[in-house]
């Protein structure tokens, strides 16, 4: 996913929500109070950016808002980007909603965003039923984000072209639990209180930068270098890791982002906790990813957790992933939250025999790890897959090539294309890298953010993708 739901503002529930058959919960019998959370949920964290630089106020602490309330703030003209970071406050608020018997994370999102009274984002339909090609939207939001979430604008071609609108912004804070009444067959298991979120706004001073720097911190959950007195130093000195870092710099450099790398070992107790793997599919705020990401130290950093093994429970027997990002985008500069980073499998970093002069993620293990790291960094900075695996959903950028299944699936293929807006049939064709470098109208297989690493992977980053990446407050 990109993370846990590749395109997931509750994707499976979307249709049900849109069907809008009935309100939920309103007439149900009284429910019991919620049990305490399974872990100690983190209190809101602060941005590591200074509140103001040279008279420009860049961090706005708006305080706590109950879902349904409106947060307002002023955005001056010429701002390069606006980032909203929402963090849960009340540990008794809902972590999940039940829809048709299935549990979904209680994702936080802005219900609407208006500037000067004009909506630039409305969760219905911009996030819940977006067009297959959402590049014409002013703003886009499609991610799992339980307990903490973020949104950085501009993230669509439309707003990249027009610039960030200035004036009085009004954001209605919401989450799925709050919207449950509008979702068919939705219910809450307990009598949860209305959720509360701490809202921080980060403004990036304009003009939009042509280049930037990114401080990458590699957190070592891997035990590969534990036999050394200083595992972090040993990792940094490892030839495979050095190659990985060099390739990561090359890939991010294509976006005008100059990366620096430091290594930080994690405590033995944390390593022991995750000794058999990190479960990437649990998006709950007490799950593995959330627990791990809270180990990120305060700073304006891209936090990449290098792990030996990523696991899942429901997908056992299928394939797990080799990377996963907390949310799209991540809460840039706000570390220590349940979403403050990405996980990258480092298991292939010692496979150096195929390493040559160019970045080769199929033949060189360190390059593959670098590719995964750059891809997850792209998600954290706000990028989506240009074409999702089934070839029916596309990112909100016009200059990334698309690879629609209906026109790019090989003529002789027997597997059918997924119906647009459909569910999750298992018998549908998955777009391969080869399919998506076949012609001018079937592209994107070479893109860094394509869903699969293949022989077509070239680490391509489009101009608009680079703009989105550099708009993140974590790129300085």
């Amino acid at each position: 996913m990109d993370g846990r739901h590749p395109r997931g503002l509750l994707p499976a529930a979307t249709v049900l929500w849109l069907a809008g058959v009935s309100a939920c919960g309103a007439s149900s019998t009284p429910k019991a109070p919620p049990p305490p959370p399974a872990c100690t949920l983190p209190a809101p964290k602060a941005s590591a950016l200074p509140d103001a630089v040279g008279g420009f106020t860049q961090v706005l602490h708006l305080g706590t808002f109950t879902v349904g309330e409106t947060a307002t703030f002023q955005v001056p003209a010429g701002v390069a980007s606006v980032t909203l970071v929402e963090q849960g406050v009340d540990t008794s608020q809902a972590e999940t909603v039940e829809i048709s018997g299935q549990s979904y994370g209680n994702t936080v999102f802005p219900n609407t965003i208006a500037v000067g009274g004009t909506h630039i984002f409305d969760v219905y339909p911009d996030a819940i039923n977006p067009p297959a090609d959402p590049s014409s939207l002013r703003a886009y939001y499609f991610t799992d984000a339980v307990w903490a979430g973020a949104m950085t604008l501009p993230n669509t071609s439309s707003m990249l072209a027009s610039g960030v609108p200035n004036g009085s912004w009004a954001v209605v804070v919401s989450d799925f639990a709050h919207e449950c009444g509008g979702i068919s067959n939705c219910s809450l298991a307990y009598a949860y209180p209305a959720s509360q979120y701490d809202l921080t706004v980060i403004l990036k001073q304009g003009p939009a930068p042509a280049t930037g720097s990114l401080a990458v911190v590699f957190y070592l959950l891997t035990t590969e270098w534990d036999s050394f007195a200083d595992p972090a130093a040993a990792a940094a000195a490892s030839p495979g890791v050095q190659r990985m870092v060099a390739s990561l710099k090359t890939l991010l450099g294509r976006a005008g982002v100059a990366a620096t790398a430091t290594f930080q070992d994690l405590p033995a107790s944390v390593k022991a906790h995750f000794a058999t793997g990190v479960n990437a599919e649990d998006s709950s705020p007490c799950g593995d990813l959330a627990t791990l990401f809270q180990n990120s130290a305060p700073g304006v950093t891209m936090n990449l957790f290098l792990v030996d093994r990523i696991t899942s429970t429901s997908h056992q027997g299928g394939t797990t992933t080799v990377g996963v990002d907390g949310t799209i985008p991540g809460p840039a500069s706000v570390n220590g939250t349940v979403q403050s980073g990405a996980v990258v499998s480092v298991a292939d970093v010692a496979s150096v025999t195929g390493c040559g002069g160019t970045v080769d993620p199929m033949g060189c293990g360190p390059d593959e790890v670098a590719y995964i790291a750059a891809h997850e960094t792209g998600h954290f900075l706000g990028l989506y897959h240009p074409t999702e695996f089934d070839g029916t959903l596309f990112d909100p950028l016009k200059d990334t090539a698309q690879c629609p299944c209906k026109s790019c699936r090989p003529a002789g293929a027997s597997l059918a294309c997924q119906a647009p807006g459909g569910g999750s049939s298992t018998n549908v064709y998955a777009m391969t890298g080869r399919d998506c470098v076949a012609s001018a109208s079937c592209g994107g297989g070479d893109d860094l953010m394509f869903w699969v690493i293949s022989s077509a992977s070239a680490g391509t980053i489009s101009a608009e993708q680079a703009q989105v990446m550099r708009a993140s407050p974590v790129v300085q």
Binding site: L16, T426, A430
Partner: protein, 184 residues
């Protein structure tokens, strides 16, 4: 708007109920789809997708699983998928990779695959020795977790192993113990 919403719902339901493809995928299509699945960066691929490709997927997956030229993560994902697709080779490949010295990710995936392929008695016989004797504590922990989660959960053996572990290693077995707690 309601009409559009209903149409979307119907399309989704139609897609979700789609059956097997009209014609069997060619060898090239099966290989291409398997390669794509194994190359996924962060999109989880459910076991059902591999099964939908039919038994010929097993041939591709077995070859990737066994190939030392492949990256460890690809081999690990292949053996896990192979256990779902099944076929005559699945158990043999998983046994072979679990027991042979090799990358942790590959061995761990193979051990977990055995947990899905073997009967409780067979699992205890195959994975029990790994839980007790594997050189790496984390692999012993994976074996313990697999035994704990297996049908009938061999939790007495798991608890005995944890008691025998050095203090510094016991934390790695917390998931196995949690699985036993859930089972009892």
């Amino acid at each position: 708007m309601t009409t559009n919403l209903a149409a979307t719902l119907l399309a989704a339901l139609a897609a979700a109920s789609a059956g097997a493809p009209a014609t069997a995928p060619s060898d090239e299509e099966v290989k291409g789809q398997v390669e794509a699945y194994l190359g996924s960066i962060d999109t989880p691929i459910p076991a059902e997708r591999f099964r939908a490709l039919g038994p010929r997927a097993a041939t591709v997956l077995a070859a990737v699983s066994r190939s030392p030229a492949e990256f460890p993560t690809r081999r690990a994902r292949a053996v896990a998928a192979l256990a779902s697709v099944g076929g005559g080779e699945a158990t043999a490949v998983a046994r072979e990779l679990a027991l042979a010295e090799g990358p942790f990710v590959v061995r761990a995936a193979a051990v977990e695959s055995l947990g899905r392929l073997l009967s409780p008695a067979e699992l205890a016989a195959a994975v029990g020795p790994l839980m007790r004797g594997a050189r790496e504590a984390r692999l012993r922990a994976v074996a313990a977790e697999t035994l704990a989660r297996g049908a009938g959960g061999d939790c007495a053996a798991v608890r005995s192993q944890v008691a025998a572990e050095a203090e510094a290693e016991r934390g790695k077995f917390h998931r196995a113990l949690s699985a036993c707690s859930g089972a009892r």
